[in-house]
Symmetry: C2
Amino acid sequence: MANPKGISNSPSSRKVPLNRDVVLSTALELVDTEGLDGLTMRRLGQELERDPMSLYRYAANRAALLDGITELVLNELAIFADDPDWQAQLRRIAHDLRLLALRHPNVVPLLVTRPLSTPLGLRPLGTLRPLEQILGLLIGAGFSPADALHVYRAYYGFLYGHILNELQEYIVDPEENVALLRLGLHRLPVTEFPTLRALGPVLADYDGDAELDQGLTLLLSGLAAQLAG
Amino acid sequence: MANPKGISNSPSSRKVPLNRDVVLSTALELVDTEGLDGLTMRRLGQELERDPMSLYRYAANRAALLDGITELVLNELAIFADDPDWQAQLRRIAHDLRLLALRHPNVVPLLVTRPLSTPLGLRPLGTLRPLEQILGLLIGAGFSPADALHVYRAYYGFLYGHILNELQEYIVDPEENVALLRLGLHRLPVTEFPTLRALGPVLADYDGDAELDQGLTLLLSGLAAQLAG
DNA sequence: GCCTAAAGTCTACATTGTAGACTAGTTGTC
DNA sequence: GACAACTAGTCTACAATGTAGACTTTAGGC
């Protein structure tokens, strides 16, 4: 938010030269602060002090821009494909991705949704890199390719599921969280939602990190055993 | 006058009387056949032979319409909360939901995405019912409320993750599937994506049902053990 | 027949993505 | 220096969308 209203630009700080990365990062900022709907071509153009049309030099259209954003975010994820301890590595990646998702909650719908409309082979390379690297990691650790794929699927499925789950209960201000939760639950018909209503307090304190970790332990050891036998 | 004016013998079919269910089901059909973007107020109005504006009697706005669709779809899911065999029940539900997702692939983004923008307590009741019922099932099977929530989260997280995973690789025509896959993989830079490219054939025959089932076995038995100890 | 409420329609408008033609600035070539 | 070729950016314009607000039509009850 270096330039909230647009006018604060001194003549010396001439317009930033544009390139794909600048465009995408600004777009990401915009999505982070104003949500997905806040990202319009016009708004982004204004943020960059350009005509909206100039953006089309750096992304074919809005959809491509969204793809670019997901790529950008996934690039923040570091994967060390040569780590011999695959379990530890997968565990670390999972926690990293979780934090990434919490840092960019508005991007998560993109992460989850964009691949649904693009066949695997045609996705932005940046989004395929984690897949490639994790497969490499697993195969490097001794798994057969087919087993590696199997492990990957179980792992990534679980991971994305957890993130979605957690984000559904996530609200920025923890105070407001409890309040909103109570308010919401109170609204539910008692006769039809007794359990849910009773669980209010338990719902309120949710340790996503711990829950993820437990799930991982269960999944990874299970997978290891399954594949050993 | 045997037909005062209501039915001014419009060319083809006389208008169906409107109500929320008709509107929502037609909307769902539209989403199924033409995708999410195909669902516009004007298009839906046309489908129902009404002015688009009349739809606002049955859904406050487009977002509410989407919520209604997710509710409609989730209503197709039967849950027997009094089944003493919780594992079998969860397993069956999972397979049912998977089939549901495959039957309405275009709705899956809604299923996953809508809850992210609505705090739990304010969601359409229909979308909370599965949660309530599964919690009931688990508590009925002897779990403490907190443990039930824990199990539910692991379970639903995994389930949604799997569905997303599978749908990412799902393409209607299996012939085209293989073709597109090959085509796409071939496009990938060899140096950067050796593993992925090599896995082409293995990727192509993916048995989502089996994979889901294995994952469930692992997860459920793991959870049972974890909670017993 | 009149009255009321519900159902449906018409018009109008602000916002959006983006096509297409154009301009200004930079660079390389002779 | 003249000029061509690019590259970056702008301007105008348009079709599509969601939806507000005022209106008209229909159905039932009295």
